[in-house]
Amino acid sequence: MASPDPVSEGTLPPGSVIVDDVVPPRAPWSAVIEAGRLLSIVDLEGNQAVDTLLYDAHDTSERYSVPDTIVAQGNVYLGEGSVLMSSAGRPLMTIVADGCGRHDTVAGACSKESNTLRYGHHTKHQHACAENFLIEGAKWGLGKRDLVSNINFYMNVPVGQDGTLGVVDGISRPGLTVTLRAERDTLVLISNCPQINNPCNGFDPTPIRVVITAPVGSE
C-alpha cells in the first residue's frame, strides 16, 4: 500500500491495526467490523465522497436507515456523536471522531440510471456508486433488494430554507479523517465515488485510506 499520509497519521485512533487499505479512485471496498473495533476513513487528497452502507453482519436484512438515523438525532447532518441507526431502530455504528464537521445522508448514491436524469443520457455508461454497491455486495450475498439510502462521508449537501438541496463544493481537506465505532458486528460497504459530473469529488475521483483498529485493551 501507499505510505501513510503524514497529516492523517496523527488523527488515527491508537490500537492495533487490523486492516490498512488504500481504496483506488472509483473502486468498491468492504469488510466486517467486529463490535468495539474502529473504522477510520481518510480523505487522502480532499473532497472525495465516500458512499457507505452498513448491515448487521449476522442479519443483513437489518441495515442502515437514513430516516431512523436523522429522526433519532433530530438533525439531517452527520458528524461526531451521530449514531448510525438500523432499519429496526438500533445502533449499528457511532461516529466517534470527525475532522470534517459535516457529512451528508440525504442525497443517496449516484447510479447510471439517476445520472441520466441529473446530467443527460450521455452519462448512462459512466461508472457509478450503485454499481460498486452491487458488485461488492454480491460478495456477501447481497443484491439489488439490499440497496437503500446511504451515508456520503465528505459530501456537502446543504438544505436551504425553502427545501432546495444539491451537491455543492466540499468542505473537506486532504488528510481529514472520520472514525466510526462498531456497536455490533457490522458489514460495511464502501463505494469510493466515481462521479465526475458534480463537485462531490472535485470533478476528479481520488483514493481514500481505510483503517480498521482494535482499540487499546480490547485484544
Binding site: D68, V71, A72, L117, R118, K144, G163, G166
Partner: protein
C-alpha cells in the same frame, strides 16, 4: 352470548351467526365494488373507481393499481399521516428511492409536480394535486423500537403500532420481505430543516385536506396510517385516512408537467421508454 336462534353450538348455527354480520358498517373498511362508494369526489366518474377504503389510525392497506390511475388520499379528520411505499408491480425490486426523489428535483419538500422516483430513474407516481402542503420526504416511518420508547409498545397487534411493522405486513401480502422496505414518504405530517440541520415537525393538516398521486407505472401501493415519527405529542394520535383511486391516463408529453423541468422530462422519457418496450405505454 348468542340467542338460541343463533346458537353457535352447531355448524348451522355458527354459519347463521357468521352470515348475520354481513352489512355491518364501521369507520375503517373497504367498500366493494368501489363504484358504490357514497362520497365520490366531484368531477370523478364513479364508474372509474377502483379503490375506496378508509384506514383507521394504526391501520394499513395495500393494492396493485394500473399505470395511469390516480390515488387520492384524504386526511378526513385532520390528524392522519399516510406513510407510503411504492413498487413497480411488474418488477418489485424497482421501488421508491427517496434520495433520488429529493436529489434529482433539487428539492426536499414535496408539492404539486414533484415526482416520486424509482431507483431506476423512472417516475413511479407524480403529485398532481395537494391541498395540504405538509408532507415529508426525509423522516420515513416509525420503528417498533422507537414506538416502544415513545408509547410503550410498537407491535402490530398492540395499541400503538409502528409504521414499519405495518408496512412489513402490507409488503408480506405481496411476497415482499424486510429487505424490500426502503425509506418511504409520508403525507399530511411533515418536517422542515433548520439552517443548522435540525428537523422540526409540521402539521397537523386541515381536516379534509387531500393529495393526489398519478401512477406512472403499474404500482404495488403500501399504506400505513400512523403518527409521524417526529410527532411531539405524548399520546399515539392518528385519525382515519380515506383512500380512493380511479382509472385514468399517465402523464403524456402534451401535459405541462412532462417538460416542467429538464430532469423531469428525462424521467418521463425513461418511464415511457420502459412502458413502451414492456407493452404498457
Amino acid at each position: 352470548m348468542t340467542s338460541a336462534a343463533t346458537s353457535t353450538a352447531t355448524t348451522e348455527g355458527a354459519r347463521a351467526h357468521a352470515r348475520s354480520q354481513a352489512g355491518t358498517v364501521v369507520d375503517a373498511m373497504p367498500v366493494l365494488p368501489a363504484r358504490s362508494y357514497e362520497k365520490v369526489p366531484a368531477g370523478v366518474d364513479p364508474e372509474l373507481l377502483i379503490w375506496a377504503e378508509t384506514v383507521a389510525g394504526g391501520g394499513y392497506t395495500s393494492k396493485v393499481i394500473s399505470r395511469g390511475s390516480t390515488i387520492r388520499l384524504t386526511d378526513r379528520g385532520g390528524d392522519a399521516c399516510a406513510h407510503l411505499l411504492l413498487y413497480n408491480a411488474d418488477q418489485p425490486w424497482e421501488r421508491l428511492n427517496m434520495a433520488d426523489t429529493v436529489k434529482v428535483p433539487w428539492q426536499a419538500y414535496l408539492g404539486v409536480g414533484h415526482p416520486l422516483l424509482s431507483d431506476q430513474a423512472r417516475v413511479l407516481a407524480s403529485i398532481v394535486q395537494d391541498t395540504s402542503g405538509t408532507h415529508d420526504a426525509l423522516c420515513g416511518t416509525s420503528s417498533r423500537a422507537r414506538n416502544e420508547q415513545r408509547y410503550g409498545d410498537g407491535s402490530a397487534h398492540g395499541r400503538s403500532p409502528a409504521g414499519r411493522e405495518l408496512l412489513l405486513l402490507a409488503a408480506a401480502k405481496h411476497s415482499l420481505g424486510p429487505r424490500d422496505i426502503p425509506p418511504g414518504v409520508s403525507f399530511f405530517k411533515g418536517s422542515r430543516v433548520a439552517p443548522d440541520g435540525a428537523l422540526e415537525p409540521t402539521g397537523p393538516a386541515v381536516p379534509g385536506a387531500f393529495v393526489e398521486l398519478r401512477a406512472e407505472l403499474p404500482l404495488v401501493v403500501l399504506i400505513a396510517n400512523v403518527p409521524h415519527p417526529l410527532d411531539p405529542r405524548e399520546d399515539y394520535q392518528c385519525t382515519t385516512l380515506e383512500v380512493l383511486a380511479w382509472r385514468g391516463e399517465p402523464t403524456r408529453p402534451e401535459d405541462p408537467l412532462w417538460s416542467s423541468t429538464p430532469e423531469l422530462e428525462r424521467a418521463f422519457l425513461n418511464t415511457y421508454d420502459y412502458a413502451d418496450a414492456r407493452g404498457l405505454a
